[in-house]
């Protein structure tokens, strides 16, 4: 089994780009990643690519070059980007390949997603009676969590305030204006207890990462960032997930808890060894719950940690240093790869105005979404 290095990273800014297709944003990111790695497309031996709503990922091929390489399209819900990366890692680890690329891009229409019940194996009445909204799920999950763990609405607002503060320092972020906690709390209530500015929005963007074997990474002189662990896990019977007309009374672990535990084991590390983390923040509550699900604190400790600024850029455990989904938006195919891109920049000390103080030695990322899937990736300085 081979180690895996991330030798190149490229991003197309997230947000709204009226005159560009999702595909074009993916191509842009791929070209930047290749240049960053110092390689040509003709050197690439394999590709995994994902897009949820912007067409087939392998449509990048005529633009980058029809070199005959294997290109596998990945479609795996909100973990599409994370799954493309994981697939690429296994390809390198297998020993079959020395150099490959993971590409993710997307372009979603504005506003909440409107899913078709039948696509989810659900009866029509579930959508007709107004129960089939992701925003309701997020509201209900954090509502219960807050009541059981002593989390206040002020803490939800502080999470979003920090996201916009970091986004203002980040070139690839969508929302670049800071916004205070009071304004966040006072914005339109969307799904109690979550207000408009506590939710991320569907967006557009593209990210690509070039992966290499140790031999190739040394040859390229790019051994700075090594992959220590990468996992994808799906839901357990007792997990609370979106679009569930009923739940078992006996509750079980979340897919994030399963993916996190497996990734720590693979890396031979624990949460105490992590210097910086990018975790799924579809809304403010998700960041709070994922802090505990990824092992960074006990349930309920978030109230004090967030209030004391522990998760800010200058805090003891910086989280979502590029503003996360709240400031970048969520193009599904690219979102998980953006988190890894951000950790690569931070580990290189190349994150500019948002660089955390003291270059981190380890970076953790976790993407989560429908229908109950979580992907974790742990990077280390090479």
């Amino acid at each position: 089994m081979s180690d895996v290095y991330i030798v190149g990273a490229g991003i197309h800014p997230f947000g709204r780009h009226k005159d560009k297709t999702g595909l074009e944003q993916g191509i842009h990111a791929a070209r930047l990643a290749l240049a960053d790695a110092g390689v040509d497309w003709t050197d690439i031996q394999f590709a995994f690519g994902g897009s949820d709503a912007a067409g087939n990922a392998d449509a990048v091929l005529p633009h980058l070059g029809l070199t005959g390489i294997q290109f596998i399209n990945v479609k795996n819900g909100c973990a599409t980007g994370g799954s493309a990366l994981l697939s690429g890692c296994w390809a390198i680890k297998s020993g079959e390949f020395d150099l490959g690329i993971a590409i993710g891009f997307d372009k979603h229409p504005p506003g909440a997603f409107n899913p078709d019940p039948e696509d989810w194996g659900l009866p029509r009445w579930y959508g007709e009676t107004g129960l089939m909204l992701t925003t309701q799920f997020f509201g209900m999950k954090i509502q219960r969590y807050m009541a059981l763990n002593g989390i206040t609405p002020q803490t939800l607002a502080l999470v979003a305030e920090k996201a916009f503060e970091n986004g203002a320092r980040t070139d690839h972020a969508w929302r670049r204006e800071p916004l205070g906690a009071d304004a966040i709390l006072a914005s339109t209530m969307v799904s109690d207890p979550l207000t408009k500015f506590m939710f991320c929005s569907p967006a557009e963007g593209g990210v690509a990462l070039v992966l290499a074997s140790p031999r190739k990474a040394r040859e390229l002189g790019r051994t700075g960032v090594k992959l220590l662990g990468a996992t994808v896990r799906t839901r357990d019977d007792g997990s609370f997930e979106v679009f569930s007309p009923s739940l078992d009374i006996e509750r079980g672990p979340s897919p994030t808890e399963l993916a996190s535990k497996a990734a720590y084991e693979m890396a031979g590390l624990g949460p105490q060894d992590i210097d910086i983390a990018q975790i799924q923040d579809t809304e403010s509550g998700a960041e709070i719950m994922h802090m505990a699900e990824n092992g960074f604190c006990a349930h309920g400790e978030q109230e004090r940690l967030v209030r004391d600024g522990a998760t800010r850029l200058t805090g003891a455990m910086p989280i979502n240093t590029d503003g996360g989904c709240l400031a970048c938006g969520e193009p599904i195919g690219a979102s998980g790869l953006r988190q890894v891109y951000e950790n690569v920049m931070q580990l290189r000390g190349a994150a500019g105005a948002r660089q955390m103080p003291g270059v981190p030695r380890t970076g953790y990322s976790q993407v989560y979404g429908a229908p109950g899937i979580s992907a974790v990736c742990i990077l280390g300085a090479g």
Binding site: N114, R124, G127, E128, G130, M132, G139, M140, I249
Partner: protein, 143 residues
Amino acid sequence: MTKAIPVAPDLFEETADGVCLIGGRRRADGRYVFPLPSGASAAPFERVRLGRTGRLWSWTVQRFRPKSPPYAGPPESEPFVPYAVGYVELPGQVIVESRLKVGDFSTLRLGLPMEAVAEAFVVGEDGNKVATYAFRPVAEAAP
């Protein structure tokens, strides 16, 4: 007086005690599910009336009109009236998702005793009301 037509067959039924949801109980292990699986996935389950009462497990309020389709509530031309939704734990059985029939959203809290009722949520094109199930706080049930 028009009749309220259930939004789907075998979703809930009126009993002498009031409205019951119809669920499934898996013969192999006694696990309860809602709604009752149909078609090819129905075989492992027996049809059961679920308990009428339970406690609020979590809740939120739908503050904007959901997109149509799939939403089939009152048309966009009418002002949207926010509605509460939640999960209700039916003891010893299952936690079910439901619209909540409640006047004052600020009274909702975890553990609140709830009971199943029918609720007409829209008037169909044929002029008949379309009914679904809902849960309301037990305290508000008094006449």
